[in-house]
């Protein structure tokens, strides 16, 4: 069974995308080191690329898409997210001073 993206083998396409994104990621850091882009920009780039790479690996390489049992296994993979959310809210953000430095859009109050 072979799946395709734009008519090409899905594994090959995903691999090419991951390699290109990693080159962009490292290149962005090089630009950041030489102060060609701002700190906010580098955070945005790293988070965006990280999310895309994460999804590419999970959906294509781990078969969370395009397989018969993909949906139930995706739900299984997402199950810990609820607890992870609690963990980050209760542990990661419990430092008294830490929420002060968060932007307004991601505060709980």
């Amino acid at each position: 069974m072979s799946h395709t993206i734009f008519g090409k083998d899905a594994y090959n396409m995903n691999f090419a995308m991951l390699m290109i994104l990693t080159v962009v990621e490292v290149g962005a850091v090089a630009a950041s080191v030489q102060e060609m882009i701002t700190a906010e920009m580098i955070i945005f780039v790293l988070v965006s690329i990280g999310v895309v790479k994460f999804l590419g690996i999970a959906f294509i390489f781990m078969h969370l898409r395009m397989e018969e049992d993909s949906n139930i296994l995706t739900m299984t993979a997402l199950f810990p997210v609820f607890f992870i959310g609690i963990m980050i809210a209760v542990i990661a953000l419990t430092s008294p001073a830490s929420p002060d430095s968060l932007p307004a859009w991601c505060r709980f109050w």
């Binding site: 069974m1 072979s2 594994y11 691999f15 991951l18 390699m19 990693t22 990621e25 490292v26 290149g27 850091v29 090089a30 630009a31 080191v33 030489q34 580098i42 955070i43 790293l46 988070v47 690329i49 990280g50 790479k53 994460f54 690996i57 999970a58 390489f61 781990m62 078969h63 049992d69 139930i72 296994l73 739900m75 299984t76 993979a77 199950f79 810990p80 607890f83 992870i84 963990m87 980050i88 542990i91 990661a92 953000l93 419990t94 430092s95 008294p96 001073a97 830490s98 929420p99 430095s101 968060l102």
Partner: protein
């Protein structure tokens, strides 16, 4: 301050944990060893009805792994957000943002990226091919590519093992080669990790001290942080928080890579003996799920700890 970093009292719990993990792997290995594709037990209960029980098992295992790494990331976020950066204190003329004077040995945050992707060291250069990459970032960058390539070689091993239009000997040889390539890449990953942590490198124009050589250790309570834009001015910082979160998170990931290498060694040997066919190729898929998860964690670890 209590400098104890290890408590012997927790050793029995650690050993019990290892024993449980080991027994689980032994049962798994025993089942895989005899599996010829003729009988794959299916899950009977909702919601996993008719899905291979080993596939359900590996996903439940990965769920627990998500919790392990989430706790490490939560700790990292908590300390990173809750500890004022050394650079900010230096910019504030050696006072915390609440005005309290910084005392030498106080904890402040110097991210690992300062040593890896920053401009801290006198020996640091921008020499790598003129691309402006710090030499200290090279091992981490190569490791990122190595893990991605290794994820690809695992799926190629799976794809090849499933091919029925290929001669059995040729198929076995190719599957073995893909798995062996994965093993080599995993070995490269851990080797470069050791270089980055303990050894450093000095090759021609490229020079990078190890993190240990740079003083980025969990024991360092007196690191002379010069930061940027302050000339000779510096503050004496306690690195334990920052270094602990870095080494525990990346070390736990490295331990998972090592665990994968043990599995890969067995699978490469099995492939060499012609043990994989289209009917039992799913065994490679199940290992692949673990290996992709390890890659997936690195996708988050690399920017969070190495670049930012």
């Amino acid at each position: 301050m209590d400098n104890t970093i290890y408590s012997a009292g927790s050793l029995p719990i650690v050993l019990v944990g290892f024993a449980i993990i080991l027994s689980g792997f032994l049962v798994w290995w025993r089942q895989d060893l005899s599996f010829d594709g003729h009988y794959e037990p299916k899950s009977a209960g909702v919601p996993f009805k008719n899905i291979d029980i080993r596939k359900v098992g590996i996903w439940v295992f990965l769920m627990s792994e998500m919790m392990v790494f989430s706790s490490l990331f939560s700790t990292y976020i908590r300390y990173r957000l809750g500890t004022e950066s050394c650079q900010a204190i230096l910019d504030n003329h050696s006072t915390f943002s609440n005005g309290v004077p910084f005392t030498p040995g106080d904890a402040c945050w110097i991210p690992a990226s300062y040593f890896i992707a920053g401009s801290h060291s006198e020996s640091w250069t921008l020499s790598l091919g003129g691309f402006g990459l710090p030499d200290t970032l090279v091992p981490g960058a190569i490791n990122t590519f190595a893990l991605i390539i290794s994820s690809f070689t695992v799926v190629m091993a799976l794809q090849t093992a499933k091919r029925e239009d290929m001669d059995a000997d040729e198929r076995s040889r190719k599957v073995r080669n893909y798995l062996a390539a994965t093993l080599v890449l995993a070995t490269l990953f851990l080797t470069l990790k050791m270089v980055e942590w303990f050894i450093g490198f000095n090759i021609g124009p490229f020079h990078a001290p190890s993190l240990m050589e740079d003083g980025y250790t969990i024991h360092n309570t007196a690191y002379p942080f010069a930061g940027s834009g302050h000339g000779e001015e510096h503050l004496t910082a306690n690195l334990r928080l920052s270094a602990s979160t870095f080494y525990v998170a990346t070390g736990t990931h490295g331990a998972h890579v090592f665990g994968g290498m043990v599995g890969l060694s067995y699978m490469t040997f099995k492939a060499h003996k012609g043990g994989y066919s289209p009917s039992n190729a799913v065994s490679i898929e199940y290992f692949g799920l673990y290996w992709h998860f390890v890659d997936l964690v690195w996708v988050l670890v690399f920017p969070a700890f190495y670049l930012y």
